[in-house]
Every structure is written in C-alpha cells, then in structure tokens.
C-alpha cells in the first residue's frame, strides 16, 4: 500500500501547494521510493537502537525564565506585507466558519 495520486493531492492541499493532476501522478511514485527507503532503515533499527532526534544526544536544554528586550513595534512590523493600528494586516481567512 503506497501513496496514491489522491493522497498527494490531499497532502498538497494541506500544505497549500497547488498541484496539477499530472504532478500528483508523477509525485506519488517518487514519494513511495522515499517511504520504501525509510522502511528499509526501520528494519535495520531494532528495539536495541535508541530513538534519536538529533545528532548530539542532548536533553534538558533550558533557558532561565528571564525577560530579554523585545523588538519595537516598528521593528516587529518592518517585514509585514501590510499593517494597520500596530498590527499585522492579513487577508480574509478563507474556507472557515
């Protein structure tokens, strides 16, 4: 059971990537190759191999609960495509409600 063109279309929609029908058909087998490779690796990694999330096995990397200076409002909004009243202005949120 691999990934179908329909699965690709659905993932594309979730990720807000517009895909043509042709692209969905082309991408499905490519993604299956990747999944197969992951499956091969999983077979090698038995229960005796601990799960790793990072190249360096660090845990509990915490900061102290100390306030540091924030940006100014102007700085914060300087990269905003649009703004109003000190806030980021974004297009109407579609497809909900």
């Amino acid at each position: 059971m691999g990934i179908t063109a329909d699965d690709v279309a659905r993932l594309g929609a979730l990720a807000r990537i517009r895909l043509t029908e042709q692209e969905c058909h082309d991408l499905a087998p490519e993604l299956n190759v990747i999944l197969d490779s992951v499956r091969s690796v999983s077979e090698v990694a038995g229960p005796d191999v601990p799960m790793a999330t990072h190249a360096i096995p660090l845990t509990n990397v915490f900061r102290d609960d100390v306030v540091t200076p924030s940006l100014t409002q102007d700085q914060a909004l300087s990269g905003a495509p649009d703004q109003e009243d000190g806030r980021f202005r974004v297009p109407q949120i579609l497809g909900e409600e």
């Binding site: 999330t53 900061r63 000190g86 909900e96």
Partner: protein, 496 residues
C-alpha cells in the same frame, strides 16, 4: 431556529459523555521559547522578537520554569511524569501563528494518566486525566469589516503576536461518563477545581475573563443502554464557569433533537454565545493526521530526572480535599456554613481575606452574602468582582475600629466596586465615617427623647426593648452615620 429537546426529557433516553480540554497560560515572566515578556494588555506587537515571530534563522530554547510548572501541574493531577518526551510541530495554516505551526506535544506528553475528584451536591465524581502537555499560545486576531467581528464576512484580519509563544499547558480528560443530569455541573465543578488547584500551585493567574484559563467542551450523547460513543462536538473557548455549564447543557438539548429526528450529529467545532446561551457551528474539525505532527527538530528532548520530579513533588500544596478539611477545623465553621463558602466559589477568597487580617466569620459574611449577591446581579463570578481580599479585610477593619457600621460598610464596598479606590479613600470621599462626635450625637438623642415622651416613659419604667424605636430615629437623624450600639448606650444612660 435550532431545535432543542427539554433537558429532563432527553435524560430519559440519552447519557451525556463529556471531554474537557482546559488551556492554562502559565505565569512565567518570559515566553515558552524566547525572552519576551508575557504581561497581559501591552500595546500590540511590542512583546515580540525574531523567535516568536518565527523569523528565519531564529532558534527557540525551552523555558525551564515552564517545564517545572508543567511537571508540578502533572503531579497535582496525580499524573505520571514522562521520563523522556519531545516537543512536536502541529502544522496548520492560520495567521495566529507566524510559523505555520504551533510548537506543542503530540504522542509524548510530559504528564499522563491522572485523575481528580470533584464534588457536586455532596457527591464525588472522579474525572480521569488523559494527559497534560506543554505548548505555546497563539496570537490574537481581530476580524475587520464583517458585521459581527467574527471571521464570517470579515474583509481582513489584524494580528497582534504579543500572546504568541506564551507557555500553555493543555489538560485533557478521558471521556467523563455516568454523571447523567449532573454532567454540566460536574464539568463546571471540574473547571473550578482546576482553577483552585492551579491557583494554589501558583503557576497561573487563572483569570478566565482574561483568557489565562480557557475551556473547550466536547459533548456527545449515547443512547441509554448502548455502549457506542456518539459523535461529539467541540465547543470552543467557553470563558466562564457559568458558561461551561450552560454550553454543555445547550449542546445536550441540541444534539438530542437531532438524534430524535433520526439524523446524525455532525462532528464539528462550535462557538458558544454568552448572550443567549446557544452554540453555532465553526469549522469542521480537522483530524489529527491533518496536522502532520512531527518531532520538533530545533528543540532537545526533555528528560526530567527522578530526583527533580521528587523535588518538585515536595513543593506541592496540600491536596484540595485535605486543605478544605483543615480550613473548616481552623475556622470552626459548621458543615452548612463552610459548605456555603465552597458552593459560592469563595473558598480561596475567604482564605485570602483571613490571611489579610479579617476573622473567618467576617470574611465569610462579606463574600457569601453581600459580594455573592453583587456578583450575581452583575452576572460575573465572585473572583471577577473588582475588589480584592485585602480590600474586604480593610473594610472589616474599619467596622472593627468603629469608623463605619455595617450599613456604611456596604456603601464602602459599593465604592470600591465602582472603582473609587481603597476603602479608606471611599470613606473620605463619600463622607461615610460614623459620627463619633459625642456633641452631635447627644443633641440628636436629646431631641428624639424630647419628641417621644411616651416612649421615654416606657423605658424609664424598665421596658428597655422600647429603646429600639428611639435608636431608629436617632440613626435616621444622623443619616445612618452613627454607631447603633453607641446610640443605644446613650439613650439607656439618659433614661435608666
């Protein structure tokens, strides 16, 4: 018009099943993954930095204090604490987060498998906790141009990211069954219990009206005799204890009408409307897989040592039930008097008022009678009234010092609630102090005695009870600003 079924009627055919998700904003100084302050009410986008704005190249680091609070909350909820867990990305496209994901936890919550016992009408209900996990809050969106200020019909939205990245703990229950007609009250009692617990832990401001404690209520109905869970709806952001109860009750009556009509309940998110107590549909609920969770690669796993967990366990406050028993003994209240404090949600407030110097009896009197009445009139919870336990203790202090009587004290409270300042300032500004000037009182007493020779004669004959009529007239002449006990003393001194 949405159809509903009378509440008592539906209970003959359906059993409610609840699931409660409570979000708690922690009161850390700084955000979950950056040093921005978490204070409420700042100018928009003044408490943001590259990390919480999700700017490229920025790297988050976990706030250790937030982890500590999460573990303490988990322990207080009788949870097991994960020996190793990770943060995860919950991917979604919504502008309340700049990153297109929320940093949360998925299948490895920091705390899991707990329980709390809540009491309703003297009966104990056990609410099982599935998990308590760490995540970050989102920004706040204002929807502009629409008629209702909601998303529907809005032309565009304005976003303030000050709240984005504030540490949150989400506490999720297992399905709560078997409460029957009491289900809405059990839910309310559970949220109230959490609020008290979190306050005692000192980990959150737990102000529902400011959103530092928020509840989403999952409700479904199961035909009695069946064992198959019904389709649930999730009512979002129910922002007061009263609303928790109302929203669940309404959803039960709405879903019963759908099921009675042979239709199916749609699985969806719904919004609660404070104004008329109804709910309306929001977006259709995403499935967990739609969020494409994966372990957060920018953060290291969290592995609390047993020593650390035990150290934190030692900092837990007394469990609520034991705490209540101890207070009742310390304060010397009967079950009825103590029960009235608990049921009016005043326990923490009375406790703080006593700590501020009032006697338990006085603290109870003010919160359970005068202030409960005013909260009820204003349609708010007791702890939402703009008066602090210290101010209530100060009002009682004025009474004890003979500066005001009970009647004037009520006006002082009214002044404090109206934002006129501290009790002493209200007394001064409103001129409420009782007249301790013996001269003015003596004149008033003499006048009243002279005007009522027959009553005075009765008192001279030993009918002391008749003094009440004269006291009333003196108080009236003094516009209530006299100490009734003192007036009585003076009248009796003159006539007996």
């Amino acid at each position: 018009m949405t159809e509903t079924i009378p509440y008592d009627d539906l209970l003959t055919r359906y059993e409610p099943v609840l699931g409660l998700e409570v979000h708690v904003e922690l009161n850390t100084n700084s955000k979950m993954f950056c040093g921005c302050p978490t204070t409420f009410g700042g100018d928009p986008n003044t408490q943001v930095c590259p990390v919480c704005l999700g700017l490229p190249g920025s790297l988050p680091v976990i706030n250790g204090k937030a982890v500590e609070s999460a573990i303490r909350i988990g322990l207080a909820l009788n949870c097991r604490i994960a020996q190793w867990c990770r943060m995860a990305r919950k991917n979604y496209f919504y502008p309340d987060m700049t990153k297109n994901f929320q940093t949360s936890q998925y299948d490895e919550p920091i705390a899991f498998d707990g329980w709390v016992d809540v009491e309703v009408d003297g009966e104990t209900y056990r609410v099982e906790i599935e998990r308590a996990h760490m995540e970050e809050d989102a920004g706040k969106a204002l929807h502009m141009g629409g008629a209702t200020g909601r998303i529907h019909g809005a032309d565009y939205s304005l976003i303030d990211y000050n709240r984005a990245g504030v540490p949150l703990i989400e506490i999720v229950t297992r399905p709560v069954r078997g409460a029957g007609a009491k289900a809405p009250e059990v839910a309310r009692a559970y949220v109230a219990h959490l609020r008290d617990l979190l306050r005692a832990l000192g980990v959150s401001d737990v102000r529902m009206e400011q959103g530092s404690l928020r509840c989403d209520a999952n409700v479904s109905l199961m035909p009695i005799g069946s064992d198959v869970l019904g389709t649930r709806t999730e009512t979002k952001n129910v922002n007061s204890l009263r609303s928790v109860e109302r929203a669940i009750r309404y959803e039960m009556t709405r879903q019963a009408a759908i099921l009675d009509g042979g239709a199916r309940v749609k699985q969806e998110t719904r919004h609660f409307h404070e104004s008329d107590g109804t709910t309306s549909p929001g977006r259709s609920k995403e499935e967990a897989e739609d969020y494409r969770y994966f372990a957060e690669p920018d953060l290291m796993p969290i592995a609390p040592s047993r020593e650390w967990v035990e150290e934190l366990r030692a900092t837990l406050p007394e469990p609520p039930a034991e705490h209540r028993r101890r207070l009742q003994t310390d304060w010397g209240f009967s079950d009825i008097d103590f029960g009235s404090i608990v049921s009016s949600g005043a326990l923490g407030l009375v406790e703080a008022t006593v700590a501020a110097g009032a006697t338990p009896a006085a603290a109870r009197k003010w919160w359970v009678t005068e202030l409960a009445r005013r909260a009820n009139e204003a349609g708010v919870e007791l702890d939402e009234l703009p008066i602090t336990p210290a101010q209530v203790a100060a009002v009682q202090g004025l009474v004890d010092a003979g500066k005001v009587n009970d009647k004037l004290a009520r006006q002082v409270i009214e002044g404090v609630l109206a934002g006129e300042g501290e009790p002493a300032a209200v007394v001064a500004a409103r001129g409420l102090a009782v007249v301790s000037d013996e001269g003015a009182l003596t004149v008033a007493v003499d006048e009243v005695i002279a005007a009522n020779p027959d009553v005075a004669a009765k008192i001279r004959d030993g009918k002391v009870a008749a003094a009440g009529a004269l006291i009333g007239q003196v108080m009236k002449a003094m516009k209530g600003q006299a100490d009734a006990g003192k007036v009585r003393e003076m009248i009796l001194a003159k006539l007996t």
